[in-house]
């Protein structure tokens, strides 16, 4: 069943509008007009109201009679697979397309028009905040090429044969957690003092019981709320500059994919808690100074939950395929930080290890002899 789809059209020429990552406004590719997010929001609110009234009037007047096709024999049921898919009609060319159930914004592969699928946004929470894209697709591709540099273990064939299979700008759903964390830790420490007399070495070890108790505030600890995005990739492209956080508006979405969250904030809170707990443990441990050794005896950490916000963060996802294996890279759409695992040339690695082994062993041998 097709859902209602919105794409923003230029008020001047009706061409499609997309959000410009550099300009920070909605731009028309055809006539070059530019519109602020606020103007387009206001314009479309009026337009939707008028359209709703006109539709209701027309439906009251029309009566259509159609014959019945034998639809049952065509195709099979999607079954369980269909639960994760949704269909929509492109408002520009009319193509009916399938996309993932969590996709809220995408672009039509036939006419390229950026579209929002508000049908799927209803029923889930509306994001509170968004960081608009500030790095474009060209920069993402350039960053990936740069990522290959200074990697002596990268197979030469990978650099030559590998091509970007897919590149997509995605607004990834994140939960941002505020918390105050209380920590209470006890350590056993020792301080060792060694002195020498004419007859013997004397080692004095003083043993202490050290106690530390403190609190630490955390603001907007991000945890991605999408199962489609690997946690390792999303964590590694942190941090985002929260100074650019803006109140959410649909007008930022055209031109990019936008996912809805499919991991609840309760589930994500566990990861946020674990990260905050690790931080306060480290902070308390760092205050234990001046000792030769320190062992944790007990720890008690309480996380006092605070505000939780729902935000969309810009991420460029790039995927490449080499020798039937997929390689996924993620780039922070705000800061341009790019990460992703690369293949390792095992032959080169062996050569480097053996070379360094031989050099160090030879040097040691010369030294020993």
């Amino acid at each position: 069943m097709a859902n209602e789809v919105t794409n923003y059209q230029c008020p001047a020429c009706t061409g499609p509008l997309h959000f410009g990552s550099e300009s920070g406004v909605l731009e028309c590719d055809y006539c070059g007009s530019r519109f602020s997010v606020e103007d387009i929001d206001r314009m479309y609110a009026e337009k939707n109201t008028n359209a709703q009234e006109a539709t209701e009037e027309r439906e009251a007047q029309e009566s259509i009679r159609e014959g019945q096709w034998d639809m049952d024999s065509a195709g099979e049921s999607w079954g369980q697979e269909g639960e994760n898919l949704q269909a929509y009609n492109c408002p520009s060319c009319g193509a009916e397309l399938l996309c993932d159930k969590t996709t809220a914004a995408t672009s039509c592969p036939y006419c390229g028009n950026p579209s929002i699928i508000p049908g799927k946004l209803s029923g889930t929470k509306k994001p509170d905040l968004i960081i608009p894209f500030q790095v474009d697709k060209t920069a993402a591709v350039a960053a990936l090429k740069k990522h290959y540099n200074h990697k002596p273990l990268l197979p030469k064939a990978f650099r030559a044969e590998n091509h970007v299979q897919q590149i997509k700008g995605v607004y990834v759903p994140f939960w941002l957690f505020d918390a105050q964390v209380e920590g209470d830790m006890t350590f056993r420490t020792t301080r060792v003092n060694t002195r020498t007399t004419p007859k013997e070495y004397i080692t004095e070890t003083s043993h202490f019981l050290v106690h530390r108790e403190g609190t630490l505030d955390f603001r907007q600890v991000p945890v991605d709320g999408s199962t489609q995005m690997p946690d390792a990739h999303m964590d590694a492209i942190e941090p985002y500059d929260y100074a650019d956080l803006k109140p959410f508006s649909l007008s930022y979405l055209p031109g990019y994919l936008a996912d809805q969250y499919d991991v609840s904030k309760e589930e994500c809170a566990r990861r946020a808690n674990a990260r905050c707990t690790a931080s306060i443990e480290d902070a308390l441990r760092d205050t234990v100074v001046g000792y030769s050794s320190c062992t944790t005896v007990s720890k008690n950490v309480t996380v006092n939950p605070g505000r939780v916000q729902y935000a969309l963060m810009p991420v460029w996802m790039l995927s490449t395929k080499w020798r039937d294996k997929n390689f996924l890279f993620a780039m922070n759409g705000q800061t341009g930080k790019l990460i992703g695992d690369l293949p390792i040339d095992k032959g080169k690695l062996t050569l480097y290890c053996l070379g360094s082994f031989a050099a160090a062993a030879l040097a040691s041998l010369l030294f020993l002899l």
Partner: protein, 268 residues
Amino acid sequence: MKKRYVAFFLAALLVLGSLAVCAFATQAQLNYVTDEAGLFSSEELAKLESRAKAISEEYNFGVYIVTLPDYRDYTSASSIAACAMELYDGYTLGWGSDRGGTMLLLSMQERDFNLDFNSSRANGIFTEPGRDAMETRFIRYFRNDDFYGGFREYLTTCEEYLRAAQEGHPVGAEESHASPALALIPGGIAALLVGLFTTAPMRTAKVQRDADQYRNGKLDLRRRSDMFLHRTVTRSPRNTESSGSGSSGGAHSSSYSSGSHSGRSGKF
């Protein structure tokens, strides 16, 4: 006429005999065993002399034993090591063009000993680990006042070392053969470090462990206490007596090297 021939023949013998005595005098003017301290019976002295001579001749390497009541009575040298070198060089000891040889000298007044080696050939035969072992072997006899036993052990050790060197396996050189195995350790560490450093940039997708970047302000430390519990004291004895650079094996000695001489001296 006949008497003239006999007289000429006797004169020639006398000249040749004198030349032979002179030649011996330049080869060695000290016995292989010189017991000025009177530590040996005549039988022991003969046995030691005979064995030292046999070893020296077989291996073309002088092996000498000298005992003195007090080395200071025989030399103006300030140390027993200097005394040993002075005796060795003064009596032109040693075999071969390099005057290779070894001398074990005891000075009984203050129970000093000195083990001297001359020539680079000696250094190859008597390695530092070998000297350590050698010292350990004879010193225990001297500590029990078994001087004959100690010198007999010295000669046995010399013979073993000379034979081993002749066969191409000097005693103590095995330890340097063990060094390749030790060299594997830094090699392994280097290979591991190179592996880690080169593969680290290839793995950049990592889950964050902490939330340090999202700390809002500093740690508010509400309670802080450091309570002393108790103190433990460990004492271990210092080994202050082994001052030698190459000494070990529990012997009380210090090493020296001077010109073609090297060796070690100490108390027993």
